[in-house]
Symmetry: C2
Subunit: 466 residues, 2 copies
């Protein structure tokens, strides 16, 4: 008896005619008038279940096999044969079908073999990976994550885990979550009646990180090519379909790179991940294209096959002003681009992904490098049809005097950025990087409309996310 | 001009005689009486710097090259040639040596080319990756992480990111950090004068996760083989050299697996990662063996080449009682093994890694599967010479009635574990998994004695960890 995964059995990697054992959960059972049953068994190793043909001769045929319902756990042993039926290349002619785990009260089992609303499935997040959709989403998410690590490995980037609990606010932008072990019912006070954070766990006030970028920059100025891949947190906007309070970010940072190199890496990186999904998860993507988003595969193919366009922000404004389209938000040099503008640019004007560069300095973060025109910074946003902004990045201000001027302009206290200023005093070099919200990528690839469906545990159980 | 990494230039991947450009930071400069300078340049892509031979004919030789000090950023262009000197295969005969970033006040630059104390380097965490030691630690850490993902990829495991902010305490064990956006100076109160967490960000009291295990179990009962790799948090013991408040954990979970299979995977996984380090980071490991831990390489080689021993807890107690050794802590069936016992077993008695199995049920967690003897649970600890416990795992209690009995015994409220009980009602199967503290692995491989040196940012900057 050789235990194999359903994926191995269906992929033709096992010689037909051999004896195999598969283990998994029943999807459907169909009893034939010929006195046998077809039991589809899934183990999550790939999209398709395998058909187990159970003859009436099995000793437990009447007592157990004919009572099998969706969700029951079984171990099937038999001969792997080319299937006569439609829809699968191989099936198992069972010589044994052991029931390991029954479904208590099949009538009320939440994951019936029928369509469920996504709202309902979020309430049973611990069971929803048993559905076709969330099995596929989970495998695609895994494929994207592993492809990301592999891209960086093949291109000489080292993974850096930047601090999750932090004392600093990376951008002076996001609302932060406080992390504390102080007894809230009995808070220690300082002389002035304020909270005495010196008695908190870390001896100071601490928060969850909003970005690892500032930390990873210092590593780029030692190891040249680095990246983060870890959770980040924003205590805002959590009630939309586009924002999560807790999400994973990928943030590469490259020494000796300018904005053009940053955009080149962003394009190469996105295409690498999408090629991996097309090649490695063709089964799941076929389901997504059939049931969720008709052009899910073709739009990824277009994405990887065409070069990204590059447009300067200033030119984008001119294009938008000349566009034969009425926008809700004003279009004017100095104002940020709104989603409607971004979508028009990438979907209607260019028709493929576009990198918009060199934004007005006053609408972008303090750490972005001031261009020679004194009016713009070396920032970029990568926009793509069907999703809008997918990557934001910039060349960083490596010149300490310029950085200090930008911090003064933004009202930031240099004393809070001592170490961030410090590595610019010692062999500073041009460097650039970008950030990619991992769940937005999953949402896009899987054709989902609510970002809560791109994380394994939306809401409870076990998660605070809702 | 072809830009190459120092690793590419030194590895013989570039044809000698060709024109190349390398970019990095000066480690040392030595001026020869023959009127030229040897400048060692590191870009962090590998352990070794590359020697750049700068002739006096360079236009900036007197004005700049002869002023170069450790930490200056340079771009060197020239011919890659086989080196006449000792210690390197290739060097660059420079036709240009551009200085990109000077070191402000070289006298006070913290990373001088000399030995520094680890205590001192923790205070300049943003600069310490420029040292030989922390460059090596960073690359080895990356290698271990990528090998972990690769092992799981090759063996059909899917990555699951379990919730970081959580409402539940995975083991009823660890002290937890509270996560909140409530205004601590002005806390909302409920009817009874308690804190009104319904007005907190998530509408309830929330904490940082101590383990993703319970969440990932549900995914194993859908996708068969899964794992987490993410940060976990414990608000305790942070002031030792062996504990971190924030650390990364790897937690695989396998459906249809018993304890023997769990131990088999643990052994295979550890050996896979160590083989990767030996093969891919030979340069860094040679430095570790030379300067940090003499047997760093040989002990990894022993580790991967010998089968792990298996010993039942009950037999381990007998062995310890018969041992010709005085222990500080008592040895008696029913008591947990202390570090001194574990080290004697693996280092003195067996002399290689050992898996201790089947511990008394009352000293292990509620979710571990009760053995048929009614006295022990199917738990395991993997112990290894030089580190002690490196992995803890168990077969999980998949029988709902037994789980309920265990929860009652531990005084846990089943209502708090609704979803965790729930997936055992629907096709429950034997399953097993283990947890591996990632930083402990880094500490072991790198021969470090303080776990703070295994994370990129101990203490400030940017980190609350100290």
């Amino acid at each position: 008896m050789t235990v194999v995964s359903v994926e191995q059995a269906l992929a033709g990697k096992i010689p037909a005619g051999g004896e195999v054992t598969v283990r998994g959960w029943v999807r459907t059972r169909r009893d034939s008038k010929a006195g046998l049953s077809f039991v589809n068994v899934s183990d999550g190793s790939c999209f398709a279940p395998i058909q187990v043909v159970a003859p009436a001769e099995l000793p437990n045929y009447e007592s157990e096999v004919k009572r099998l319902t969706a969700g029951c756990a079984v171990i099937a042993t038999g001969t792997l044969v080319a299937s006569q039926g439609q829809g699968q290349a191989f099936e198992i002619q069972a010589s044994s079908l052991e029931v390991v785990g029954w479904v208590e009260d099949p009538e009320t089992y939440p994951i019936q073999p029928k369509a469920h609303s996504l709202e309902f499935l979020r309430e049973v997040a611990h069971l929803r990976p048993r559905t076709n959709l969330f099995g596929a989403v989970t495998r695609i998410r895994d494929c994207l994550a592993k492809a990301a690590h592999r891209y960086f490995h093949e291109n000489g980037f080292y993974w850096i885990s930047t601090p999750i609990v932090t004392t600093s606010d990376a951008e002076g932008a996001g609302q932060m979550f406080r992390v504390s072990t102080l007894d809230m019912a009995n808070l220690p006070r300082d002389d002035k009646g304020g909270i005495d954070f010196s008695r908190d766990f870390f001896g100071k006030e601490t928060f969850l990180t909003v970005s690892g970028q500032l930390n990873v920059e210092a590593y780029a100025l030692s190891l040249s090519k680095v990246y983060t891949f870890g959770p980040t947190f924003r205590a805002e906007n959590s009630n939309t379909t586009r924002h999560l309070a807790e999400f994973w970010m990928i943030e590469p940072e490259i020494a000796f790179a300018d904005l053009a190199e940053d955009a080149r890496v962003a394009e190469e990186f996105l295409k690498y991940m999408f090629r991996a999904v097309l090649a490695e998860r063709a089964d799941d993507m076929a389901f997504i294209a059939e049931r969720v988003q008709k052009d899910a595969i073709t739009r990824l193919e277009s994405f990887v096959n065409a070069p990204f366009e590059r447009i300067e922000y200033t030119d984008a404004i001119k294009l938008l002003q000349k566009a034969d389209k009425k926008f809700d938000f004003p279009v004017e040099w100095g104002l940020d681009l709104q989603t409607e503008h971004e979508r028009w640019l990438t979907e209607e004007h260019v028709g493929r992904p576009v990198v918009v560069t060199n934004y007005p300095e006053h609408i972008k973060a303090f750490y972005m490098r001031l261009n020679d025109d004194g009016k713009t910074v070396a920032a970029m946003d990568v926009l793509a049809p069907g999703i809008g902004e997918i990557i934001g990045g910039s060349q960083r201000e490596e010149r300490l005097d310029m950085l200090d001027a930008r911090m003064a302009q933004f009202g930031l206290d240099p004393a809070h950025y001592g170490w961030y200023r410090d590595f610019r005093r010692y062999g500073t070099v041009p460097h650039a990087g970008f950030g990619l919200g991992f769940e937005r990528l999953v949402v896009y690839v899987c054709g989902l409309s609510n970002i809560r469906d791109a994380i394994p545990y939306p809401r409870a159980p076990g998660s605070a996310e809702y």
